[in-house]
């Protein structure tokens, strides 16, 4: 773990980072339970990648920066302003779901008020969107950046190349963060790309490239902070590859049988939530009493979010017909 003293992170920041990681983890775990209890049809997880997401999120300015997350980014969007209840409303497909009004599967994050752009299911389309947003920042001379995140699986798509190429050409205030958990569902990294590091591709796009330990939120924060600084200073885009771990199967519909037991065992041992907790305890940023309080608070938050979302109504069936186009008179 990189020492936080090599960054500008305060102890309060560190506590907030841990709190966001823990909240995301507990929310995610609850959704799995609800799925297994037959209450949610589908769950897709952030577990194991919270360090990367929280490190990146804290390096950005959530008031002005735009994010184009992918489906695992529960911790990232939580920092940007997605509330636990909003997550649950989406999971339960309720009418008040801010992300899609109950139209999309969970994990398709969207919330304009929190600078989170809407996402589809066909992967990597978010890269050109984020690049487009950063082109707007450059055009308007604004000190803002756009972030697109993706799994390493998405780096095989054409939109990855096309988007990064364009961002490189125009030195756009854009950051591409690969959350490399080494699996595209079941396909392992060595069947996805031949390069040693995906971040090496940055050279080909004319941008800064860097690989970082995705289990270390402080390290991720540091490289992301530097990337953001370069972006707003007109020094162009960055390609950051965070080496991460997927603790769960791909989704609630996946059995994970293509991974060996000892690998899963080792993943558990390397759980970023545990290692960050130990670091904070060692550094005396937190203590057991603090942890206990925070666990209890979060459990309460998650319980309340679950109950509230479950009790919320579905949208009327006719809501199916709404918002295809702008509805000038009754939109």
């Amino acid at each position: 773990m990189l020492s936080h003293k090599e960054t500008d992170l305060t102890e309060t920041d560190l506590q907030d980072m841990y709190r966001t990681m823990l909240l995301s983890r507990r929310l995610d775990e609850r959704m799995w339970l609800l799925n297994r209890a037959g209450k949610l049809p589908f769950v897709i997880s952030c577990q194991g990648q919270e360090a990367t997401q929280v490190g990146a999120a804290f390096a950005l300015d959530k008031e002005v920066d735009i994010i184009n997350p992918y489906y695992r980014d529960l911790a990232l969007v939580t920092h940007f302003g997605m509330t636990p209840e909003e997550m649950m409303l989406s999971a339960f497909a309720r009418g008040a779901d801010v992300q899609s009004g109950g139209r999309q599967m969970p994990g398709h994050f969207s919330k304009k008020a929190s600078n989170i752009m809407t996402q589809g299911s066909a992967v990597t389309t978010q890269i050109p969107h984020a690049v487009g947003a950063s082109y707007v920042f450059k055009m308007d001379g604004e000190k803002r950046v756009s972030l697109a995140t993706l799994g390493e699986g998405s780096t095989s798509q054409g939109d990855f190349h096309e988007g990064l190429n364009f961002a490189g050409v125009h030195k756009l205030p854009f950051i591409c963060l690969i959350e490399n958990n080494k699996y595209a569902i079941s396909v392992p990294a060595h069947l996805q790309y031949g390069a040693d590091k995906l971040s090496d591709r940055a050279v080909g796009y004319g941008m800064h490239g860097e690989q970082v330990d995705g289990n270390d939120p402080i390290a991720v924060y540091k490289v992301m902070k530097e990337a953001r600084d370069r972006a707003v200073n007109g020094e162009g885009a960055s390609l950051i590859e965070a080496m991460s771990i997927r603790l769960t199967p791909h989704s609630s519909d996946d059995d994970d049988k293509y991974r060996e037991a000892d690998e899963l065992q080792k993943n558990k041992k390397d759980d970023c939530l545990e290692s960050f907790k130990l670091y904070l305890l060692e550094e005396k940023v937190i203590d057991e009493a603090w942890l206990e309080t925070v666990e209890a608070e979060i459990k309460d938050t998650v319980n309340k979010a679950t109950k509230a979302a479950e009790a919320a109504p579905y949208a009327a069936p006719e809501h199916t017909l709404k918002h295809v186009y702008e509805e000038v008179n009754n939109g």
């Binding site: 139209r103 939109d159 190429n165």
Partner: protein, 327 residues
């Protein structure tokens, strides 16, 4: 009112829209310094600068994808796809992204953007510079598809498309670019999207078509008039969503309907128009609904005799119009 070509009218629309609204910007391959391969965007970069008239790398999905992103940020990008058939790499961004942004975000986000693409044949463009590809896009709710048939319509519809708050696909017939000339209103001029237009009145037969075929049908109608038959010509103008009311009205008026497209017949837009008429006008029909279209082959060949064989022209339309008139 100035007399402009179809191409000049489009350029005029871009000029006016960009002058009116700083959020409007143009991007695409060769649109900047060169002014576009057809010269539609000529002079724009000099006036509005490199950022607002942007030469992009050769990557259609990114052209559309970055437009979606910029549009979500409040810009009004007008992307040019150099030839309509090259839009295919961007189809994921158009159908899965642009068209669904508003719906999937429950009206939180929207993507006000225009994608312009020259389409159509008759210019010795062979298989990959002659296609009519509108049928791929005309069953996508969330997307609007527009094809102008006259210089005035080209300007009015493009300006309306740029001001529209949803994504619009704007297909320009490349043979019409310099062939068609007409009076075009100056300055800010819009024509509502989603409205078809009666281009000629008549009470013997109804011809429903769009794009360059409107002009061809008008020529054929003048010829037909000499035989004593008067054709009503309805220009669809917006191919999606279709102006059903206008279609039903025009079809019912004469009861004899000819549908014309330059696209190949099967699964083309006019099949949907035919279905609308079939569902709504049974008691007003006086003849079977007739369709005139290109042959069902992959695309338009290069050699002139084969190209002519495929390509629509006023004579083909005239013959079919006469057949229907005499039915």
């Amino acid at each position: 009112m100035a007399k402009l070509s179809y191409l000049d009218a489009i350029r005029d629309a871009l000029f006016v829209a960009m002058e009116q609204d700083d959020n409007v910007f143009v991007l695409g391959e060769d649109v900047g310094k060169k002014g576009g391969v057809f010269k539609v965007t000529e002079g724009l970069q000099e006036k509005f600068g490199e950022m607002r008239v942007l030469d992009t790398p050769l990557a259609e999905s990114n052209i559309v994808g970055t437009s979606v992103g910029a549009a979500m940020m409040g810009k009004r990008p007008v992307a040019e796809i150099q030839f309509a058939e090259y839009i295919l790499p961007a189809v994921n961004q158009i159908l899965n992204e642009a068209a669904k942004v508003r719906y999937r975000s429950d009206n939180d986000w929207n993507a006000p953007m225009v994608i312009r693409a020259p389409f159509g044949g008759g210019i010795h463009g062979a298989l990959y510079h002659s296609q009519s590809i509108e049928s791929i896009f005309v069953s996508t709710p969330g997307l609007k598809v527009v094809v102008p048939s006259t210089p005035a319509d080209a300007k009015g519809l493009l300006m309306a498309a740029i001001k529209d708050n949803d994504p619009v696909l704007f297909f320009e017939h490349k043979k019409a670019y310099r062939l068609l000339k007409g009076e075009v209103p100056e300055g800010d001029y819009t024509i509502p999207l989603g409205k078809a237009d009666v281009k000629r009145e008549g009470d013997d037969i109804t011809v429903i078509t769009y794009g360059l075929c409107v002009n061809y049908a008008m020529q054929a109608a003048e010829q037909l008039s000499k035989e004593g038959y008067e054709a009503e010509i309805l220009d669809l103008r917006t191919l999606y969503p279709l102006d059903k009311e206008a279609i039903i009205k025009a079809a019912s008026k004469t009861g004899k309907v000819l549908l014309v497209t330059e696209d190949n017949l099967e699964g083309s837009l006019i099949s949907e128009v035919s279905a609308i008429i079939g569902e709504n006008c049974l008691y007003d029909l006086d003849a079977p609904i007739m369709r005139l279209a290109g042959p069902d082959v992959p695309s338009m060949p290069y050699a002139p005799p084969m190209e002519d064989y495929f390509m629509m022209n006023p004579d083909k339309i005239y013959n079919k119009m006469l057949e229907l008139s005499e039915y």
